[in-house]
C-alpha cells in the first residue's frame, strides 16, 4: 500500500493498521532526511499549510512547523490569543477565511473534543488534529509507538503502562488506540479519581499500584499531571501524587528488568518522574521529540499526496 485510507488525520481511531505501517515506513525515510547535512526536501513546494492553535502549545507547534518547513511547504501559523476568534468569529468562518487565501491543509489544536472532526465535515481542506480537548492527539500517539518500535524493535506483543492523569489526557486515548492496533497490551495506572470510569471497555486493564504496573510492563509512558484542566482537586497534594505515582531512580533500579521510560512533555520534574530518571539511558524522551518531526513529516507528506491538483 502506498496511500493512506483517510484524507484527514482526525484520530488514530479512524486509521487502519496498514496506515500506521505506511506512516512508520515513510517516517523512517524522513528520519534519515533530517539527519543529513541539508535537512530539507522539495516535495511540498506547492502546498500551503495553516497551523491554527486555539490552545497553548510549544513543542507540538514547533514540531509541526519544522516538519512543514523541512518538506518545503509554505506555512502560516497563528494562536487564538491574537486572532479574531476573540472578537466572536465562529470556527468555520475563521477557517474558511484562511482557506480563501488558498491554503491546502489545516493543522488545528482546539479545546473541544471533536473540533477537528467537525471542521473536516464543514470545510474543504485536509485536516490534521493536533489535539482536541481530552479526546485525541494522533501524531503524539504515532510518535510514541514509533519510538517504542525504534527502541524495542517492534510494538506487537509489548506491554505498555500509561501512568498518571488518564482522565484529562488526549495522549492516553491516542496511545491506547495506536498500541492496541499494533498488537501491544495496554494497562493504565493512576489515582482512581484520574482513571475514567469505563476505561476497561477499551480493552485496557487498570492497576492502582505503580510498582506492580512497572513490574508488569516493558514500557512506561508517564503522563503529565494537567493542573490546568483540573476544576476540582483530584488528589490531596502534588507531594502525595509524586510519592504514589512518581518514578524515581531507586524505584527503577529495584525492578528486576530494564524498562523504557517515555514522557510526552512538558515534564514536571520531580512529580511524574525525577530528573535522574528523565535523563537516564532508559528514557527515550528526547528521541520522542526527534521522532515527532519525522512522524509529522510523514503524515503531512502522505496526506498532501492525496490532495489532487
Amino acid at each position: 500500500m502506498s496511500e493512506l485510507s483517510v484524507n484527514h488525520l482526525l484520530g488514530i481511531k479512524y486509521l487502519q493498521k496498514a496506515d500506521i505501517d505506511l506512516i512508520f515506513e515513510t517516517a523512517d525515510h524522513f528520519k534519515e532526511v533530517i539527519n543529513r547535512p541539508i535537512k530539507k526536501v522539495p516535495s511540498l513546494r506547492d502546498i500551503t499549510i495553516a497551523n491554527i492553535f486555539f490552545e497553548n502549545s510549544t513543542r507540538t507547534k514547533l514540531s509541526f512547523e519544522l516538519a512543514q518547513k523541512r518538506l518545503s511547504a509554505d506555512v502560516i501559523s497563528f494562536s487564538a490569543a491574537q486572532s479574531s476568534v476573540k472578537k466572536g468569529e465562529t470556527l468555520i468562518d475563521t477557517v474558511n477565511n484562511i482557506l480563501s487565501m488558498k491554503v491546502d491543509m489545516v493543522v488545528m489544536r482546539h479545546a473541544n473534543p471533536g473540533a477537528a472532526y467537525f471542521l473536516s465535515q464543514n470545510v474543504k481542506a485536509s485536516i490534521i488534529n493536533a489535539g482536541d480537548g481530552a479526546h485525541e492527539h494522533p501524531t503524539q500517539g504515532l510518535l510514541d509507538s514509533f519510538s517504542i518500535r525504534e527502541r524495542l524493535g517492534e510494538v506487537a506483543g509489548k506491554k505498555v503502562v500509561i501512568v498518571g492523569d488518564i482522565l484529562h489526557s488526549r495522549v492516553a486515548l491516542s496511545n491506547i488506540y495506536a498500541l492496541q492496533m499494533q498488537g501491544a497490551e495496554v494497562k493504565v495506572c493512576g489515582p482512581k479519581t484520574l482513571i475514567p470510569k469505563y476505561i476497561e471497555s477499551l480493552g485496557v486493564t487498570v492497576e492502582s499500584n505503580l510498582r506492580k504496573a512497572l513490574e508488569w510492563c516493558d514500557v512506561a509512558n508517564m503522563l503529565r499531571v494537567q493542573n490546568e484542566r483540573m476544576d476540582v482537586n483530584y488528589f490531596p497534594s502534588t507531594r502525595e501524587y509524586a510519592q504514589q505515582y512518581g518514578v524515581d531512580k531507586a524505584l527503577l533500579d529495584s525492578l528486576n528488568k530494564e524498562i523504557v521510560i517515555m514522557h510526552p512533555g512538558p515534564i514536571n520534574r520531580g512529580v511524574e518522574i525525577t530528573s535522574d530518571v528523565a535523563d537516564s539511558q532508559q528514557s527515550v524522551i528526547l528521541d520522542q521529540v526527534e521522532n515527532g518531526v519525522a512522524i509529522r513529516m510523514a503524515v503531512i507528506y502522505l496526506l498532501a499526496s492525496k490532495i489532487k491538483q
Binding site: H29, E32, R36, P37, V41, K308
Partner: protein, 171 residues
C-alpha cells in the same frame, strides 16, 4: 535484447572506462539511484575491486522520491532507503542507473545529492540509454547500450541477485 554474456561484457567495458577517468578512485564515489540503479552500482563496485584490484570504493544509494517533480501529478510512489554514509563534498560522484529515459530522475538526483555536500563533479553511467525520449538536456557519460525504443515499449533490466538472471528485455 541483451543476454547474460553480453551484459557481462558491457559491465567490464564500463568498469574499464571508469578506471580510465578515475584511475584508483581515491577521490571518487559511486552512487546507485534507487531502486533500479542499486544492483548495477553494487555489481560494478565488485568488478572494479575484485577483478581490477581497485581499493574499496565508497558506494551509496540515493532515493529521489521526495525530489521528484511529479508529486501529486501521478500515482503515489513508495520511497526507498537512502544510504550515503559519507560526504560528497569535493568528490567526483558517479551516478549509476539502469535505464536513462526522460532524464527526470537524474534531474531529481542532481538536486537530491546536494543535501550531502557539493561534489567537485558528477558523471552519469547507465546500462541502457533510450535515445530520442529525453525531456531534459541530460546525457550519460558512460553508456552500456544505446537503443531506439518507441514510447509505449518498456525496457526491463534483470539482475541475477533479484530476478535470477542477468538480461535486458524489451516488453
Amino acid at each position: 535484447m541483451l543476454t547474460s554474456k553480453e551484459v557481462n561484457i558491457i559491465l567490464h567495458r564500463l568498469a574499464c572506462q571508469l578506471i580510465e577517468n578515475h584511475l584508483d578512485f581515491s577521490n571518487s564515489v559511486l552512487i546507485g539511484i534507487q531502486p533500479r540503479g542499486v544492483s548495477l552500482a553494487a555489481r560494478l563496485k565488485t568488478i572494479l575491486e575484485t577483478e581490477y584490484h581497485i581499493p574499496p570504493i565508497p558506494l551509496g544509494f540515493l532515493d529521489i522520491t521526495f525530489f521528484r517533480d511529479d508529486f501529486r501529478r501521478g500515482e503515489t510512489l513508495e520511497a526507498n532507503k537512502t544510504q550515503i554514509d559519507f560526504l560528497v563534498e569535493d568528490k567526483k560522484v558517479v551516478f549509476i542507473d539502469d535505464v536513462l529515459f526522460t532524464g527526470r530522475s537524474i534531474r531529481a538526483a542532481l538536486t537530491a545529492i546536494q543535501s550531502f555536500g557539493r561534489p567537485s563533479e558528477i558523471e552519469l553511467l547507465v546500462l541502457i540509454d533510450r535515445r530520442f525520449s529525453r525531456h531534459l538536456p541530460i546525457q550519460p557519460d558512460y553508456r552500456g547500450r544505446q537503443v531506439d525504443v518507441i514510447n509505449d515499449e518498456k525496457v526491463k533490466v534483470c539482475w541475477k541477485e533479484k530476478e535470477g538472471e542477468d538480461a535486458v528485455y524489451l516488453i
